[in-house]
Each structure stands twice: as C-alpha cells, then as structure tokens.
Symmetry: D2
Subunit: 296 residues, 4 copies
Amino acid sequence: MSKTLFKGIISYPITPFLAEDNGVDIKTLGQLIDRLIQDGSHAIAPLGSTGESAYLNDEEWSTVAEASVKQVAKRVPTVVGISDLTTQNAVRRAKFAEKVGADAVMVLPISYWKLTEREIFQHYAAISEAIGIPVMLYNNPATSGLDLSPELIVRIIKEIDNVTMVKESSGDIQRMHRIFQLSNEEIPFYNGSNPLALEAFAAGAAGWCTAAPNLIPAWPLKLYEASLAGDLKQAREVFYKQLPLLQFILKGGLPTTIKAGLQLRGFDAGVPRKPLLPLDSAGQNELAALIKQLNG
Amino acid sequence: MSKTLFKGIISYPITPFLAEDNGVDIKTLGQLIDRLIQDGSHAIAPLGSTGESAYLNDEEWSTVAEASVKQVAKRVPTVVGISDLTTQNAVRRAKFAEKVGADAVMVLPISYWKLTEREIFQHYAAISEAIGIPVMLYNNPATSGLDLSPELIVRIIKEIDNVTMVKESSGDIQRMHRIFQLSNEEIPFYNGSNPLALEAFAAGAAGWCTAAPNLIPAWPLKLYEASLAGDLKQAREVFYKQLPLLQFILKGGLPTTIKAGLQLRGFDAGVPRKPLLPLDSAGQNELAALIKQLNG
Amino acid sequence: MSKTLFKGIISYPITPFLAEDNGVDIKTLGQLIDRLIQDGSHAIAPLGSTGESAYLNDEEWSTVAEASVKQVAKRVPTVVGISDLTTQNAVRRAKFAEKVGADAVMVLPISYWKLTEREIFQHYAAISEAIGIPVMLYNNPATSGLDLSPELIVRIIKEIDNVTMVKESSGDIQRMHRIFQLSNEEIPFYNGSNPLALEAFAAGAAGWCTAAPNLIPAWPLKLYEASLAGDLKQAREVFYKQLPLLQFILKGGLPTTIKAGLQLRGFDAGVPRKPLLPLDSAGQNELAALIKQLNG
Amino acid sequence: MSKTLFKGIISYPITPFLAEDNGVDIKTLGQLIDRLIQDGSHAIAPLGSTGESAYLNDEEWSTVAEASVKQVAKRVPTVVGISDLTTQNAVRRAKFAEKVGADAVMVLPISYWKLTEREIFQHYAAISEAIGIPVMLYNNPATSGLDLSPELIVRIIKEIDNVTMVKESSGDIQRMHRIFQLSNEEIPFYNGSNPLALEAFAAGAAGWCTAAPNLIPAWPLKLYEASLAGDLKQAREVFYKQLPLLQFILKGGLPTTIKAGLQLRGFDAGVPRKPLLPLDSAGQNELAALIKQLNG
C-alpha cells in the first residue's frame, strides 16, 4: 500500500462566487480552505463535483486551481479535479495543476457520447503521460453518465503508470469488494458516497472523499478514527448520528446544500451557479436542525 | 430489541429430492439439518428460496415443513417459509407450520401481477391474524418481483401484530439504514444477501440468513462472532476470505450451487428440480477449489 | 408465413370465481367466451395472465382448460396457457391441453430462481417434445421475472420443432424489429403490450393478444382492420381513441380492471383472487367513463 | 398545429475538424450543408449531438453557428443547438444564434448535478425570455443525464412562450403518446431516436431529427413520404430496409459513425474529437456494406 498518498478524510470545498455571479470569490475560498485544514481534514480536493468544476469556464477553473494549492500551502496534500469533456483540455488542466503545485489530480471521465473502454483507457493514458504526479481515477456514473466496471478500473491502474488510486462513488459496496479482490488488496480505494461511509471503511477504504466537513467537521473524523482503531460499535454509533445529514446533502445536491449549510453556520459562501438554485426555505429549516443536532 | 427471536447465523437447508425427482427425500433432509445444528447454526429455516419451496407441490411442502420442525426438535428455533402466490394458501401453510411446531414463519410476497401496497399489507395482515407465532417479513425483489420500500416494511411491522422482524435481501445497504432509522433501532433486521454480510453486520443486522453453512459452516460463524465482539479488522479479514464462495453461490443460484457443493463434500443431496439444472462441470471444479481453500 | 396459425385479435378471457372464492365459475366463463367470439375475436386464449392462471390450483386449471376448449368448439382457434414453475407440471398441462382439443399452447417461462439460457431452452424443448400442437413462446419480463432476448427467442423457434410463434409483451418495439430481422420476416410475432398496439402492427405484428375485447370489442378490431388495409391515418385515429382505456387496464392489472369493467357493462364475473383486490371506487368511476366514451 | 415550423426530415450535420484537431473546418462544413439541402432535407440542425457541440469551446461554437446559418441561407429553416451546462452561457448562445439568423434554437438540459423540475423550468424560461425565435425542447436522457417526463415537457411548452415544440430521443414511444394526449394533439413532436422512426411517424410525429441523411439521404425521405401519404405497407418496407444502418450509427455513436461513413462515401470530414476515437476497421467494413446496399 505504498502508493497510498492520502488517508482519512479528504475534504471537498465548494467554490464561492461573487455577488450576482460575477466570477469566483478567491478570498472566501481561501478562508474556507483554512477552516477545513484547521478542523482536521487529511487532504483538500478543490474543483470536484462539490466545487462546481463543471460549471466554471477555463479561466475560472485555473484561478481556483492555483489559489487553492497556494492556500493549502502543503499543510496537507491537495488533489485537484481536472475533469473535462475533451482529452485535450483535461491534459491542459492536469499540466496546469501540476505546475502550480498540486500533489495529485482527480479525473472523472465526463461524457456526452458514451465512451468505449478503449476511449476511456486512452483518455487516462493521455492525461497520465502528460504529468508526473499521481492520478486518482474517479467513478461516478450519476454525474458522468459513464459507469466504469471494477475490472476496467483495476486494469487502468495496473497498466497506466501514474494512475494509482480510485475514488468510487457508485454507492455500490460490491464494487469496492471487487477492486479489493482484483488488486490483491493493493489498490487504495476511497469512498465518494456519503451514506456508504461506515460500510466503505468496514470494507477497507483508505479514505472518505466528502463535503461533509464543510458543515460538521468533527463527525467524519470520528468515524474514520473509530474505523482505524477497528472499533465497530463506536464506528456504527457515530455513523448513524451523522447519517441523516449525509442523506440530506446528497439528496439535495452538494453545491446547493453545502452552500446553504455554510450560510447557516454564519459563513457566507454565496449560492450555486444557475441552473442550480439555492436551497428553498423548507430545506434550509431541515438542514439547520440537522446541523444543530450535530454541532451542538 | 425484546422482539429478537433469532440472532446470528440462520441456516437455510436445501430440499433433497429422491432419484428421478420422485418426491422429497426426508431422510437426507434430516441428516442435513442435524449437520447444520451440530456445526453451530443459531436457527434453521426450511422452505426458503434455497429450499426450492416455490417448486414443491402442496403435499411436498407440508411433508418438508413437518419433518423439518420435528428434526430440529427445538434444539434451535425453526422459521418455516410459507410463501405462496395466493393469500388463501399462504394462510393455510402458516397455520400448518404453527400446528407442527414452527417458532416463526417467513413470508415473501411472491407475485405474478405486481401488488399494490394495500394488497401487500392485507396479505400480511391475513396471515398474521391466522396464527399466533411471529412473522418474518422477507423482501427479495429478484425472486418475488416485488420490492418493498423500507417505509412500507416498517409500517407493516408497526401495524400488524405478529410481524416483528424483516429479512432484507435486496442487497442495498441503504435499505437497512432506513429500517434502522425509521424504527428507532427497534426492528431487528436480517441480511439475506450473502456478499453484503460484512456490511450488514457493520450496520447492525441481528443476523445473517444464509445457505453458506451447508458448505462452509465455520466461516459465517467467525464473521458473526467478530462482529458481535466489535472487532472490525477480524470481521473484515474473515469476510474477504469467504467472499469468493459467497459470490459464487449467489451467482449460480443457491439450490444449484449448494446441492453441487454438498456432493463435493461427500454428502449426496441430489440435484435441483427442473427447469433448474445441476451445476456444470466447470462450475463444479471452481466450487471445489473454493470449498477446499476454506475447509482445508 | 405458413406457420401463422392466428391472425388479428386474440382475446384473453378472465377466469370468473364463484362467490366467496369457492372455485372457478365455469358457467360464467362459457358465457364470456361466447360473447368474445360473437364480438369478432379471431382466437381465444384462456389461462393467460388475464386468466389468473398463476393463482389457480392444478384441479382448477384443468377444469378451466377443458371447459374453455369445449366452449369455443372450434369456432375459432384456442390457445391455452400452460405455464408452470416446474417443467414436469408444465409438460403435464401441455399434454392435457392437447388431449382436450387445444389448437396451440402458450408458454411463459415463469421463474423463481432466474433461469439460464440453457435451462429456458430445455424447458421449451421438454414441453415441445411431449405434444404435437404448436407452442407460442411468451416473453413478459414484468410477470415472469425473466427477459428473453430476441436472439434466444429466435433460436428456440428455429431449433425446437413445435415452437413456431412468439408473443412479445416487453413493450419494447425494438424487440419486434430484431425478431423480424433475425428470422427474415418468417416468424410470426404477436404483441402483448396494449399501449403498443398501433406501433406493433406498423412493425408487422401478426396479431394482438389482448384482454381489451372483454370491454370494448369493436375497437381492437378497427385497429387491426385499418392496419391490415395499410391505412395509417385510420389506424392512428382509432388507436388514440382507445389508448386511454388500454393504459388504464394495463396500469391497474388486467384481472382487476377487466373484472371491474365487465361488472360495469352488466356482466357479473366476480372479483380477482386474493391477494389481488377489486378495483376501488375511484378507479371504477374512471373506468366507467372510459368505457362509455368508447361503447356509446 | 400552426406552431409547426419544421416538418419532415431535419438533418444533423457533423462538425468537421481541421487536421491534427486544429479547430473547426468551416469550408467542409459548408459543403456538407449544401449536400444535405440538395439531397432534400427539410431543415438543417447544426451543433446538435451529432455536431459534437458539447466538445467545442465557445469560440468554435460561435464560428460554427454563424457559418451554418449563412451557408443554409434560408433555403430551408435552420435550428441551432445552443445547449450549455450554465444558464448564462446557454442564454448567450441563444442570443447569438438569433442574431446571426437562426430560425429556431434547440435546447437540451445538459446536467452534471441532476436538476430539479424547478431548475429545468427556470433554465428554459431564462433562454426563452432572452430571444424572439422558437425554442425546441430536447429530451435525451442518454446524453444529458436528465429525463424530462411528458408532463413536465408539456407544462414547459404551455407556460413558456417561445418553447413550442419537442424533440423526443428517449426511444420510448409511450412518451410520444403521452405528449400527444396531454396537449390534445397540438404540440408538434419530433423523433430523435433513429430505430424508432417508423413508429414515431405512425404515432403522429411531425418530423424526424436524424444524422442519417449524411449517409443515405434518399431513405429517410422515402419513409417520411410514405408516412405522410398514410401508406403503411410502403412505410414499413422502406423502414426495415434502412433499419440496419440506423441501428449501426446509433450503437457506434453518431459523430464516430457518420464521419466514418462520409469518408466511405468519398467525402473527407475528418475524425471526431478525443476522447472520441475514429471507427475501427471492422466497423468501417460493416458500415461500408450497409451503405452500399442502400445507395447502390
């Protein structure tokens, strides 16, 4: 498991926008990253699904990538999401991320036309060849429209040099079992499905990629620590306590619910970019109650 | 949790047929039940999916029900599968099971036409009213053609007196989370999906309904004991060791693979009833290797 | 297309039960069959999904099979549903149907455990070998739990002597295209999905297997005749007029809605067998309006 | 049906790229558009799924939009695809399309995070308010990741002024039935699923949105004309002749297969943009045979 760059809680910051959607708000982003690190995150992952990466133009993307890495300043590792529909632009972003100091990049094979396995493989190969830092393969059929089988994932990791780890967000625990089996336990896998956090750690996940620390930083850590200690009863107990909030933020969409929750915690990070709309008031009330119950 | 009648490993015997499919082989069934109990099963569940209940005629069903309960002889609890397409016959079977001494009955809402929630509810109510022993609700969309939501399951258990527990075989861990949440942890749930055994125990399952003890009796017990002790590392280790066999028996169909495996262990329990066919020779070789690896 | 035994509208009678579910009501069944023939049905198909075949015991099944064939009395062809979970009982029923004079049998591969292609093939082969009349293969994944691919269907029809035609009820028009292509237009296919009736005839279906003639006998015939004449505009017009009723009877379950509709037309055929429940009063009102609009 | 701007065959040109993926090849695009019009297309739809719109940067998109409209030069109507992940950019593109002379715009609600119905509605409302030309709503869950129900589609068209028609590409004929029913036959619907072309016309589609005219221009027209004349037999015959090619281009992805087919017809339009790869040689051989059979 020497390839395991990250362990524990990998936190996903949202990307704040200036008022009237006037571009990205780098100052607020920096403050949020500081909070996440101070609260104990083991790594920071800007420009993921939570970071509305797909909704940024290229200039905004670069601004956020560079600012994030600088703000983290090597206090913990940074993994930058560089996903793009075209291979050319994904390669460009990967190189940029490496240049500004990212420790790794995360790549989701976003699709419009469904890609064949050969196309997916070559997409990862092209990105990997262009850089010298590790690549985290990211499988999330609900957002990408593509579902990579464990067999394909393991083949990509075995055959392409820099691809060394996988974030699995399909929500199907059997995928993690297969990755574990196919790789003789050697490929570190990370869970990206919040309501699966307990079981993913039970199954041997190296970490949990989550936006929950934006709202309830202590709780994901408690789950990780209990799991690491092998204490199943404590893990179960702290998981079920945070589960209602995890279910809520997933169901409502992470940019929408996390931005609403930050506001409720007194941290103004604005609203998501349209067509995404802010959380409605019924949702805000429900979320407020969930946060209060956990943060006291 | 005072309603919890069963805990641990609930074992599902196959139903052996006489040569040339000349009816059920009660003598061999008795020997198999004895083995399962001697090997440590915490309960015995005849006439389940594994027991080819759906393929028996009424007379055969009654013969197996009565013989099984007598053979168990209260050494452990017996839960008898009484599922039938019509409410009238399911009621008749439930009464028969109670009369011959079953400790509980298990009811899968088998369907041809999809049932509405009202029809499912009334089916359970009619069965429950006819008997005085507990009913285990069984959800298994892959075999029944009906998928009961956690909300419906919990409502049935709360509103119908004798229905007190649920066997969840959808393979979706989130269902168990919801049942746990909706019932304030009070409804005992049992896992019926073999490759989910580790995570179901992690999530708080009271037991594991499985045919695996027919082939590898020590291993399900090891997983249960590690889970009960809250030892996550040991639980994970013994789970991954038995997982290949659990995957194999599920994929090949339990009557087919368990009967083949018993033969491989030197216990002749015949073949499944047609249209089900015996395991082919490639499958037998694979299964033999899996069993040998575990049983030494 | 010399194998085409049936063309046009194949009508599915419900199976009436005596009051208090005291067995099958043969007298009423006979009256219903007479009505269907007098109203112009091109064939009669007792003991199908509509006929609650799956909910009858063996004795009831035999009674209905024999009475139906006798009542039809060769005025039109009769195709008897002989589906059963076990191969042995399906064979027994097929022989019985032939003995009492059926012109063909219809076979749905009902499943509890999913069958492999080999198991499905052998099931059809065993039935076919036992009789000398044609077999209509029936694919209906929603009720049987098994979905037969066009490739498998065509292989069975080509390789097993008596299997000569297929009723496709998956509701996917592309399946009919594939059967048409794979068989060089030579295998007659019948549509079993009511809301697909227009398009199935457009695609070349030899007939429509439907329970609608129980309620609106003139309308399916109008659609068939317009299609036969190649008059697309007339076909479209008469299809859209009957479509709301077709959607309603499918959505509510055929035994439930057809029995309610017969009552509304002044023909008392009782209620479906439990767990199936009678149509509720809101549904009855909606159905009454739909029938009135069409029957004037 | 006064809102029906387009009828018949709406042709989708691919977007050619210069060698080494050095930007869009406007000259070749112009020649292709000329061919499509000369071959009888009733409308031209640049920047659709076939046009790799999702893979173009903003500058390329604008170049193609303007050049396409100018090349068509009002010989037939032009409908420009303006879909984008953000509302702001979709609005900008819609205004640009109107400014350069498009007759209508087509809008697919591309998604990363699943949109709520309210978000989808407001996305269409914002685009519609910004322009004075008609909007064609486009439903294609396989590429957009969002599936709009007929109920939502009809509500958007009824409540938002400029949205007047719908392109349905889910491939489910029942959606067209519902749109027909919910709108009292008044909303023109267009079929975007090639292998459904016969049945969509049977069900009353106003047109067929297709890339097939790039390869076999005479055949879609033949189907449309037979359908318009109400000649079901002729429609069926010409449909089944072209169906193998329609199945092939859909299965292989339209940019990939159409560009390969153009090459096979002696028209060099280059290859698709990576990660999309050119058709492999086995596919080219199969496609060549299919084209030859139809074009003689």
